[in-house]
């Protein structure tokens, strides 16, 4: 089908127009008609927040409790689920908050009110903690749910072709199982709040209506306590702590292909109670040179004042501190296609072109689009069309037991040439350029899913090629600080032994003092045939299986696009080979590990 015409920008805020285009795509005429009626109805009602327009929202069920389930990889969905839980509790509703893998699946059929907050990972995959639930819902064993009212908030990143795939999938599937919508599904892009806040409002009010004035109930919410602990610090994602940079040290050799930095920041006074496995959020400032280049190409004055949503700052400052320039997202492509009247660009937005669009989004930055498809923008429209800047996460590479009031991270500079000019990533370039003494806006992002075993006598197997090794430096520090009796086995890989053996001296020392028990290395480009960690896993298959049988905990961190998949496959293979199982049984074995939280992944 031919592409939808771009919406006239004046009517709607930019982000919204993009989303609406996305929602409408591929809908049958019938659905479109229904939607027009639906939105008309909404317009009729007063108040900004979309309220319980879903059919049957009024009749409350017998069970007077809102169940909130989240699937989260990097904590965003968790944070929002917890917010919803707090607000619902505050509103006097009975609430139970559960991580997806803690949700008792057999209870689903009795469920009345269900809110799901879930992100999409990998290439349209569920977060690790939600794999089981998503499979269960998608599968034949999923029960009919005539009595269920639900609301889904999908989290995603519109620079991925499979935008919010999992959120959409669950929303559709629950409806298919006969459940009715408590509120329209939300599809939050990286500027999460833009969509999440209204969704929370409408879900909450709808839930309120559904469970009239029921007496508050002690919510069975273990994670909430965790939240309490985590929120000890007054510093949050929205209110980051200005951490002083103590060390910014390149840790790849000068002739190294990649510039990887070891950064040490002081968190004195932040009360960040981080644990090994957690991440540090960093709010970057865009590369000044890039901002100037964009201003030039648009012939816009960086000093001109631009007001948006009640905030006024110079155009330059909007672009430096408030907008994504290095990551391209669909909404901007749509807006720019309209602005530039670029038919070819417009065609990419067609549903049957998602793959091509994906390629465009991954390979182009905003400036590349401006060069390829010149267009006239006013400062206001341009800023409005761009996505709000979002923080980047970095696995914490230190243990407080070893470094005290510091936090260490390991950052690979993202620099590459494209379209005849040097490109760089916002945060990695920003961090690489900071000098000692600089203040960096950071926040603590807990990751309950990626924790050392409470039982310190358990063995752990750490698979962390590239910067994926970062959290394992923290694990290593922690385990030797507390004198854990369990053995530690690290698999590390990178292109070259001489150039980018990250933290080589520290691993050698750990081997010497006996706090690291095994270290297997894969340097891909040191020999004609490429060697990656998964090959080492296979070579060590027998021992590795023995360790697993012994109750060892398995961790994978690093590249999500290829490494994590290949490692997963290798694990299944070696379990099959050395555990005398067929592929299915081996896969089940690995899934079981995942369910038991004995196979944790932190991939990006």
């Amino acid at each position: 089908m031919s592409a939808l015409p771009a919406l006239p920008i004046s009517v709607l805020p930019e982000e919204k127009s993009g989303e609406i285009l996305r929602l409408l795509e591929g809908l049958e005429p019938a659905a479109l008609w229904w939607l027009s009626g639906y939105t008309a109805a909404l317009a009729g009602q007063s108040g900004a927040a979309v309220r319980g327009a879903a059919p049957g929202a009024r009749d409350a069920g017998p069970q007077e409790r809102l169940t909130i389930v989240y699937g989260s990889q990097t904590g965003n969905a968790k944070r929002l689920a917890e917010k919803l839980a707090r607000e619902a509790e505050g509103a006097g509703l009975g609430v139970r908050l559960l991580r997806a893998d803690a949700y008792p699946q057999r209870e689903l059929k009795n469920e009345r009110l269900l809110a799901i907050v879930i992100s999409t990972q990998g290439d349209g995959d569920p977060p690790d903690d939600a794999r089981g639930l998503v499979e269960f819902l998608a599968g034949k064993r999923a029960p009919p749910l005539p009595d269920l009212k639900f609301a889904v908030l999908g989290l995603g990143d519109s620079s991925y072709p499979q935008f919010c795939a999992i959120g959409r999938k669950l929303d559709a599937r629950l409806a298919e199982l006969g459940a009715s919508r408590l509120a329209v599904a939300g599809e939050a892009d990286l500027d999460i709040e833009t969509v999440a806040t209204p969704w929370l409002d409408r879900t909450l009010s709808a839930a309120r209506e559904a469970l009239k004035a029921s007496s508050p109930r002690a919510a069975t919410v273990t994670p909430l306590r965790a939240v309490a602990a985590a929120t000890l610090s007054e510093w949050t994602r929205e209110r980051p702590f200005a951490a002083e940079l103590l060390v910014n040290q390149r840790i790849t050799a000068r002739n190294g292909t990649r510039d990887v930095r070891h950064l040490e920041l002081s968190i004195e006074g932040s009360a960040f109670a981080y644990e090994p496995g957690d991440a540090l959020g960093v709010w970057p400032t865009n590369p000044p040179a890039l901002v100037e280049a964009i201003l030039d190409s648009l012939h816009l004055d960086g000093d001109s004042a631009v007001a948006l949503a009640g905030e006024t700052r110079t155009l330059r400052s909007w672009l430096l501190e408030k907008r994504e320039l290095t990551k391209l997202a669909r909404p901007f492509v749509a807006a720019h296609a309209a602005q530039a009247r670029a038919a070819d660009l417009n065609r990419l937005l067609a549903p049957d072109r998602t793959a091509d669009l994906g390629v465009l989004l991954q390979s182009h930055q905003v400036i590349d689009l401006l060069h390829a498809h010149p267009a006239d923008w006013t400062g206001e429209d341009f800023v409005a069309a761009l996505r709000p800047l979002t923080p980047r996460l970095y696995s914490i590479a230190s243990s407080r037991k070893a470094v005290g009031d510091e936090v260490h991270i390991t950052v690979a500079s993202l620099v590459y040439d494209a379209f005849g000019s040097a490109h760089s990533g916002a945060a990695s370039a920003y961090l690489a350029a900071r000098e000692d003494g600089a203040r960096v806006p950071v926040f603590h992002e807990a990751n309950e899913r990626f924790r050392l075993p409470k039982d310190t006598s358990r063995d752990i197997i750490m698979i962390g090629p590239g910067t994926g090794v970062a959290p394992f430096r923290a694990f290593q520090q922690e385990r030797s600080a507390i004198g854990a009796r369990g053995r530690n086995w690290l698999f590390f890989g990178n292109p070259h032994f001489e150039r980018d053996f990250l933290y080589q001296l520290e691993w050698q020392a750990a081997l010497k003092d006996g706090s690291l028990h095994r270290l297997d290395l894969a340097f891909s480009r040191d020999q004609p045939q490429k060697i990656y960690v998964q090959q080492r896993l296979r070579e060590r298959g027998r021992e590795l299986y023995e360790w697993l049988e012994n109750g060892a905990q398995l961790y994978v961190c690093g590249d999500a696009t290829r490494m994590a998949k290949d490692v997963h496959a290798a694990l299944i293979e070696l379990v099959a080979e050395h555990g005398g199982r067929n592929r299915e049984q081996a896969a089940e074995y690995i899934d079981a590990l995942q369910q038991q939280g004995r196979y944790a992944r932190d991939v990006y």
């Binding site: 040290q249 390149r250 840790i251 790849t252 050799a253 000068r254 070891h262 032994f497 001489e498 053996f501 990250l502 933290y503 080589q504 001296l505 520290e506 691993w507 050698q508 081997l511 270290l519 290395l521 040191d526 020999q527």
Partner: protein, 565 residues
């Protein structure tokens, strides 16, 4: 002798004939280094563990271990290789090493910058060129030197033959080398009953042999543990004068260590050569100092016990007495550059290779040039003891082709360079040498340029003055036999040594200690001025300094001279 044996002695004796834990060390993927004890043993196999000292600090901050790599040295008696072998060595340099071939002061090739995981492959490639590296380093007999003297074709041929036989005889017999590097499977107890000459702990220290072909003393025969001065009569070689107890190495501030010129022991016939060499080696094996490595060379054994005792001991082992030394005379110790015709009517082209480093640098594409020459050359290549190269055994008809390639690749510098530049020597030193205290090879071009300016200012540009630089007092460029020598003491600082002769028969003397370049230049400026004004006819700079009383005569030198005429 009841002082404890040096640690290296223990490592040797426990090494099962040089095996140690080398195989395990090579297999350890976590480090580019090998076990400490193995760093001693690998020398016997012709390799040294090194690291790029330019990068040490930087890498420590990067949390990376030092940039470990290995230097490999060949065993090439007399430094003779065929063009086919040259091409193989060149390929190794460009595939596994730092894209350079380093010609050494002992007529060997050195590869630098080979990483551990490619060490075995490189060793195999070298052996595939029918060249090995056994005993190129370590407490054994090292590469045997032979005066390059291309003029004396027939004499050179027979002397070279003897050098090869001697090299074979004194080569360690352990199979360790073949097991570790060439994958030979270990025959049960293949190390039992081996090393008839050396025994389980080999020698107390390195041992060096050189053959000289008068009138050229390019090998500096008096600088070696054992020397053979060929007596050349009517193109033939009726025998050799034997010299013992020479050596250069010393340690700053330790007067128990010093450079020493060899004593002349007597005359022998060629058939006696191998037996005499073995007697000298085993005497040093049994009496050399195994407690203090700085004092373990043959020169100290002889200095401590006396040359007469030594001669008696050697003759006792031989069962016959040596004949009295025959007269001999050396004219100079430098190379003669350009084409020269041998007695056999074949031609030899002596090229200048600065500090022995063959590389492609800008227009000076020496590595490529010599590759192309090797492709067309039908004779052989001969390394000179002065780090230079001779394209040897060229038919008159083929000279043109070679001259063309030489010119095309900037190898013709010898045609225009000053004598100073042509004869200068420098050891490797930084960044690879672990013992370097100051720059040498990398500093030489700059230093020579500065000294050339001085000479020009005094109208001495054509004066054939010998200049040698060593990065430390070990003296790898045989600096103590140079008219002017810089011996490294600290970065940018050297001991200025002066007054050796040009024939390798008189040691120089310390003139100024621990001075920087400015002071060196100032000193030389004054002395050049005097030399320009006061020198006698054809009087060398060193001889002049002695006559003018700038330096005091050295007694040790005299001993060598007496026996000579």
């Amino acid at each position: 002798m009841n002082a404890p044996r040096s640690p290296v002695e223990k490592i040797k004796s426990e090494s099962r004939h040089l095996r140690g834990t080398l195989v395990e060390s090579l297999a350890d993927a976590v480090t580019g280094a090998i076990a400490d004890s193995d760093t001693q043993l690998i020398k016997f196999h012709g390799s040294y563990q090194q690291d790029d000292r330019d990068l040490r600090d930087e890498r420590r901050q990067q949390k990376l271990e030092p940039a470990y790599s290995f230097m490999i040295r060949t065993r090439t008696p007399g430094g003779v290789v065929t063009p086919a072998q040259w091409l193989k060595l060149d390929a190794i340099a460009t595939t596994y090493a730092s894209h350079t071939l380093r010609l050494t002061t002992r007529q060997a090739f050195q590869f630098h910058g080979i990483v551990k995981r490619e060490l075995q492959t490189t060793m195999q490639a070298i052996n595939a060129a029918l060249i090995d590296t056994i005993a190129a380093c370590g407490d054994v007999n090292r590469n045997v030197m032979v005066g390059a003297n291309p003029h004396e074709s027939y004499a050179h041929a027979s002397v070279h033959a003897w050098a090869e036989r001697l090299s074979e005889r004194l080569k360690p017999k352990t199979r360790a080398y073949f097991e570790i590097w060439l994958g030979e499977t270990k025959i049960a107890d293949s190390d039992q009953g081996w090393e008839p000459v050396y025994g389980a702990t080999y020698l107390p220290r390195k041992f060096k042999v050189a053959f000289a072909l008068p009138p050229v003393n390019d090998v500096d025969v008096f600088a070696h543990d054992l020397g053979f001065i060929a007596v050349v009569e009517r193109g033939g070689v009726p025998g050799f004068n034997v010299t013992v107890g020479g050596g250069m190495g010393a340690t700053h501030g330790d007067d128990k260590t010093y450079p020493r010129l060899a004593d002349v022991l007597g005359f022998i016939s060629p058939e006696q050569l191998l037996a005499v060499a073995e007697a000298v080696v085993t005497t040093q094996r049994d009496f050399g100092d195994r407690t203090e490595r700085k004092h373990a060379r043959l020169k100290y054994t002889i200095a401590d016990r006396g040359i007469d005792w030594f001669k008696r001991e050697v003759e006792r082992r031989l069962g016959f007495a040596l004949q009295p030394a025959r007269p001999f005379a050396f004219a100079h110790s430098g190379d003669r550059f350009g084409w020269s015709e041998g007695h056999d009517g074949r031609w030899h082209l002596n090229l200048r290779i600065e500090a022995g480093r063959i590389a492609d640098r800008g227009h000076a594409t020496h590595l490529s040039g010599l590759r192309e020459i090797a492709n067309v050359h039908k004779g052989e290549f001969r390394l000179t003891p002065n780090q230079n190269l001779i394209v040897a055994n060229v038919a008159a008809a083929d000279r043109g082709a070679i001259d063309a390639l030489v010119a095309a690749h900037g190898l013709d510098g010898f045609r225009t360079a000053t004598p100073l530049r042509l004869n200068a020597l420098a050891c490797v030193a930084l960044p690879t040498c672990a013992l370097a205290m100051a720059e040498a090879e990398r500093y030489l071009p700059e230093l020579v340029a500065k000294v050339e300016l001085l000479l020009a200012a005094h109208g001495l540009s054509d004066a054939p003055i010998g200049l040698r630089v060593s990065g430390c007092p070990n003296g790898c460029s045989r600096p103590y036999l140079a008219e002017i020598a810089l011996v490294g003491k600290a970065p940018g600082r050297y001991n200025l040594m002066l007054g050796a002769d040009a024939r390798g028969q008189r040691l120089n003397r310390l003139h100024r200690e621990n001075i920087d370049e400015a002071a060196i230049v100032a000193e030389l400026d004054v002395l050049f001025a005097r030399y320009a004004g006061e020198r006698g006819d054809g009087e060398g700079f060193g001889d002049f300094l002695l006559r003018a009383g700038v330096i005091a005569p050295s007694r040790r030198a005299a001993i060598a001279l007496e026996t000579m005429t």
